[in-house]
């Protein structure tokens, strides 16, 4: 069993950072959802806020790390100008070329919107901190952005997984 440099970075980009993003999203969303005056005591807010800050800032940092490693480390191997590269292999057949033309072309661009949205959520949480429980408008906006960031990353992640299955980077 051997793990090449390309395998390693593919795992870091797709599984490592992707998995961390999912965990941070689940924790952050639960924290934001439950941040209502009727559901949390005064003492509970401080503890919950610490976890919320960690969850949202982690999600933003992981989202940036995912798109940067994806674009600057993994993507160049995908698009190498060689007949064996995944891009060349997919475009070689009319049965598979849409995996590149639709899937990869969409994924490589749309993914970059996710870190901007996740950063906005982290900024809202860091700015209001405990006051967020009293500002339900800001809390709802943060939740909406958080879900949008996740859906955007999920689209990119799913397309990435399917494309990798069709034409793996070797």
């Amino acid at each position: 069993m051997e793990l090449t440099t390309r395998d390693f970075w593919g795992l870091v980009h797709g599984i490592g950072l992707g998995g961390l993003f999912l965990v941070a999203f689940a924790g952050g969303l639960a924290g934001l959802y439950s941040l209502k005056p009727g559901l949390v005591t005064e003492s509970g807010v401080a503890d919950r806020m610490r976890r919320l800050i960690v969850g949202t800032t982690t999600m933003a940092a992981v989202a940036w790390a995912t798109v940067i490693t994806g674009t600057w480390v993994v993507y160049p191997w995908y698009r190498e100008d060689e007949p064996t590269s995944p891009r060349s292999a997919l475009l070689a057949s009319p049965d598979t070329d849409e995996w590149h033309k639709f899937g990869m072309e969409w994924k490589e661009h749309v993914a970059w919107i996710a870190p901007m949205l996740a950063t906005a959520v982290a900024v809202i949480v860091l700015y209001y901190r405990q006051d967020l429980i009293r500002n339900q408008t800001a809390r709802r906006i943060a939740m909406g952005l958080f879900v949008a960031a996740f859906v955007t990353a999920a689209i990119a992640g799913l397309l990435g997984a399917l494309i990798t299955k069709k034409a793996p980077i070797t």
């Binding site: 993507y75 661009h109 919107i113 949205l117």
Partner: protein, 125 residues
């Protein structure tokens, strides 16, 4: 009249609540900046599809190709927009719902511009 007590005016009609808490300006700034970043990415994606010359000019890195320029400029637009708007709005009270609507419109255009079936309409021959 006996038994009738005059009500203080303030109790009968409470005054308009003054705005409290932190100013919303910095939050509005990051919301709109995210929209600006997405919009710039969408515009560059469509433009690069329509013009081979422009697409090649965005290829700052040979291995990454035009995606390098598109994403660098989108990130720069996000950061510069965020800093500039934060400086402009940092002490202002802003209607967060209005800022959200502006952000949603910009984000919507960004999503449209980065959607492959859409930008391929502009593909150069």
């Amino acid at each position: 009249m006996e038994g009738t007590q005059p009500q203080p005016a303030a109790a009968a009609e409470p005054p308009a609540r003054p705005a409290v808490g932190k100013p919303e300006g910095p939050v509005a700034a990051v919301l709109i900046a995210a929209g600006i970043g997405a919009l710039v990415l969408g515009i560059l994606t469509v433009w690069a599809e329509a013009s081979v010359g422009f697409s090649e000019s965005l290829a700052y890195n040979d291995r990454v190709g035009p995606l390098s320029g598109k994403t660098i400029w989108a990130a720069v637009a996000f950061v510069v927009g965020w800093v500039a708007l934060t400086l402009a709005l940092r002490r202002r009270r802003v209607d967060l719902m209005k800022a959200t609507v502006v952000s949603i419109v910009l984000l919507g255009l960004g999503y449209l511009g980065t959607f492959s079936p859409f930008f391929r309409i502009f593909e150069s021959e």
